[in-house]
């Protein structure tokens, strides 16, 4: 029995030795953590460090790399397509914010008011998240078919509206991408907001009701302030995700038509892989490092600004 008892805590003044560290369970802790440390080191940290190193090199991964200083960063900044990609990414982020951000909050609030079959609604809302992203995009490509027989165009036809070039027009392609992205991602956010709504004390609603508050006033003055912390976190997560949007432009349009959906990540991909002869991995990693740096700074500033407004 005595073997299962924890030894008494060592006095603070006692000197830590390797033996005492082992006796305190240090070795077993390290051994437990080692597989994870190895996996992270091999699959996460090494590629990150190599990317940073590669951003200062010229390499085709076969012949020896050559140090080129800041040339890659300079080449990226001189690329006329960079401005287009940044603007397109900002446009995607803005559209996703306007179209996509309020939708899950609204859906979660409405669903929380449902008394029966809440599970069914939750499952339905979460379903798009379960569909593999590539399958979802291919499915939506069928919906977006620009011919009069396309799914969406057929529906529009019922209302006397002519066929729309969903993905084949420079002005409509990006909004079309955002609609699918919103559909695909909303489910996860709805579940998080639903969980957060459960933590809102019911007394607050009771008190508001006693004061004669309407449902909208309750939502505005009780629900939203209580969700503030979650909303701030979700907002920065969405900004980070939209700044790195790749899947939709890559699979839907390949950046077209006429570069109207080229995003920063797609540009990185193009630098690395579009040229069949080895690609410009230096420029690709340079732009990746710049993007990561920018997002890190953005996140830090965002948390500094929102910290005082968030609930603890």
């Amino acid at each position: 029995m005595t073997t299962t008892q924890h030894p008494p805590a060592a006095p603070a003044s006692r000197r830590a030795t390797p033996l005492s560290w082992i006796r305190a369970g240090g070795l077993s802790k390290l051994l437990f953590a080692l597989p994870m440390i190895l996996v992270f080191a091999i699959f996460s940290w090494t590629p990150i460090v190599r990317s940073v190193v590669m951003s200062f090199q010229k390499t085709n991964l076969l012949t020896p790399a050559e140090w080129v200083g800041l040339d890659n960063f300079q080449a990226v900044l001189n690329d006329p397509l960079l401005g287009t990609a940044v603007l397109n990414t900002l446009y995607f982020a803005a559209l996703a914010l306007v179209m996509g951000f309020p939708v899950p909050i609204l859906m979660a609030v409405l669903m929380s008011e449902v008394k029966r079959g809440k599970g069914v609604y939750s499952a339905l809302a979460y379903l798009p998240v379960v569909v593999p992203p590539v399958v979802a995009v291919l499915l939506w490509k069928v919906f977006y078919d620009g011919s009069p027989d396309g799914v969406f165009n057929t529906i529009l036809g019922w209302f006397g509206i002519g066929p729309q070039p969903w993905l084949q027009s420079t002005s409509m392609a990006m909004p079309s991408l955002v609609i699918e992205a919103t559909w695909a991602a909303a489910g996860g956010s709805i579940i998080i907001y639903l969980a957060a709504l459960l933590s809102v004390p019911p007394e607050l609603y009771d008190a508001a009701e006693v004061d004669g508050a309407s449902i909208w006033r309750k939502a505005w003055h009780v629900t939203l302030p209580q969700l503030r912390g979650v909303i701030f976190v979700m907002l920065i997560l969405q900004i980070l995700a939209t700044a790195q949007v790749f899947l939709e432009p890559f699979l839907f349009t390949g950046g077209g038509p006429a570069n109207s959906t080229v995003t920063v990540l797609l540009l990185i991909y193009r630098y690395a892989f579009q040229n069949s002869l080895g690609g410009n991995y230096g420029m690709a990693t340079a732009l990746s490092v710049m993007l990561a740096g920018f997002l890190a700074v953005l996140s830090w500033v965002y948390f500094r600004l929102t910290n005082r407004w968030s609930t603890s």
Binding site: L38, N60, T63, S147, Q168, G256, Q274, N275, L277
Partner: protein, 463 residues
């Protein structure tokens, strides 16, 4: 102490499990090692490119027959077929990741840069030994010869650009499928008629993944223009803003916006346009003359619907853009695998071009598995040898040659023109948005687009 040792033991087990997981993850390396000669030294394992993903089972049956024939003749080599398709993005990744087969094919346009980068195996001695260095068309051999005079690949197949059309849609539109359009104006008229009669795209063109630039270049050449000039000292000058390119873009604009016979898809590439054409949704499009094999084998096209004619030629000094590919050996293989690779290339790709027995064996194996035999290509050796080989395999030819007669009867009268040499794929990529703009913007300023593309291309060439 006992509690510590129990925890340590548990941690040890966890660590061992983690190590096993990592070992499992790294098993790919073992697979790569298998590509070189095996430890026993009895057999060399050779990973060779077969077909693009999506090829039908019969194609693999035919390949299995040929594989067995080769292994019987070379009992010390174990051939392993690997699915392979040349596409810009995946090729670069496979090359960098070391997952390319030991023997694969690359287009002419990339061979020069690859060999200059040291990314292809030197096969000069092997070609000399096989004794057919002098048999190659010198222009084609130049594409695989490095600055050091060494040869880095086996040119195995060439094609000329052609106009492919759907005979069924022609008939439905009241057009004669045996008398296809011979001028670009006639192409436009036929496209119009097809769309009016069937509602399908009368004419379509590739526009993404570098294929937009490729086809724009091909049609520029057919109108007498050139997108690049070779200065002869290793430098090139962009000539994109020429009348041929302008006329091509104007043609696309008019088909799309004035006639409305382009259809709704402006985001097609080599694979998707083949798919659409094979499904009967496109009346006409331009692509390499050898695409029939893929249309039937990979996209399930009904051969009876297929028609092929030459590119319409206009203007001064028009020509037909040609291309093709070469069989090469991965630069990372050992000597034994290299020797096996050369044997395979000689047996699988080359002998059928110059030896009657090999040609007949190849054709009979393909025909037995119901694979296309006799698809029109251009000779990488001499025209005489090519025509001779067609006679050898005449009994096995199963492609509808009558439906390809408008092409095969006239192609020898057209001037072959090679693809631009400087930064070929990058400039094709740069031209994609130009094609897309014309197809998506009714008011596109073609002159301004060309001026910008010309300046961008020259900047690339000057790098």
């Amino acid at each position: 102490m006992m509690s510590i040792s129990r925890r340590t033991a548990a941690a040890g087990v966890t660590l061992a499990a983690g190590a096993m997981l990592l070992t499992a993850c790294s098993s790919g390396e073992g697979g790569e090692a298998a590509s070189s000669s095996d430890a026993g030294g009895s057999k060399v394992e050779l990973r060779v490119a077969t077909f693009p993903p999506g090829a039908d089972a019969a194609a693999y049956e035919a390949f299995a027959t040929q594989e067995a024939q080769f292994e019987e003749a070379n009992p010390d080599i174990d051939v392993i077929g690997v699915e392979y398709e040349w596409t810009g993005p995946t090729f670069a990744v496979q090359l960098a990741g070391g997952s390319l087969p030991d023997v694969f094919t690359v287009p002419f346009t990339d061979s020069k840069t690859l060999l200059e980068n040291g990314q292809l195996m030197d096969v000069t001695d092997e070609i000399e030994e096989l004794g057919y260095t002098d048999s190659f068309n010198p222009v084609i051999l130049d594409g695989v010869t490095g600055a050091d005079g060494h040869i880095y690949g086996f040119p195995r197949q060439a094609y000329a650009m052609g106009l492919h059309y759907n005979r069924d849609l022609f008939e439905q539109a009241g057009l004669d499928p045996d008398d296809p359009p011979a001028t670009w104006d006639e192409v436009r008229e036929a496209a119009n008629a097809i769309t009016e009669a069937t509602g399908k795209a009368g004419y379509a063109q590739m526009a993404i993944n570098n294929t937009g630039g490729w086809q724009l270049t091909a049609q520029t050449v057919s109108r007498g223009g050139r997108t690049q000039s070779d200065d002869g000292d290793g430098t090139y000058t962009s000539t994109i803003a020429n009348e041929g390119t302008k006329a091509t873009l104007q043609f696309l604009h008019d088909v799309r916006w004035e006639d409305d016979s382009f259809g709704y898809k402006v985001d097609l590439d080599w694979g998707t346009i083949n798919q659409e054409f094979a499904a009967g949704n496109i009346g006409m499009y331009t692509s390499g003359s050898d695409v029939y094999t893929a249309l039937v084998r990979d996209f399930g096209m009904d051969p009876a619907q297929y028609g092929l004619t030459v590119m319409p030629l206009e203007g001064d000094d028009p020509g037909t853009l040609g291309g093709g590919d070469i069989a090469v050996v991965s630069p990372t293989v050992d000597d034994a695998t290299k020797a096996a690779a050369v044997k395979w290339i000689d047996w699988y790709y080359m002998q059928k071009l110059m030896d009657e027995d090999a040609a007949v064996a190849d054709a009979s194996a393909l025909a037995a598995a119901d694979q296309a035999v006799g698809t029109p290509v251009l000779p990488v050796l001499s025209r005489e040898l090519y025509e001779q080989s067609q006679e050898w395999i005449a009994d096995y030819i199963n492609v509808p040659l009558d439906q390809m007669a408008p092409f095969t009867d006239r192609i020898w009268d057209q001037t072959p023109v090679g693809e631009p040499k400087g930064k070929t794929q990058e400039i094709y990529a740069l031209l994609d948005p130009v094609v897309q703009t014309v197809l998506t913007d009714k008011d596109a300023d073609i002159d301004a687009l060309l001026a910008q593309a010309d300046a961008d291309a020259q900047a690339l060439l000057d790098q």
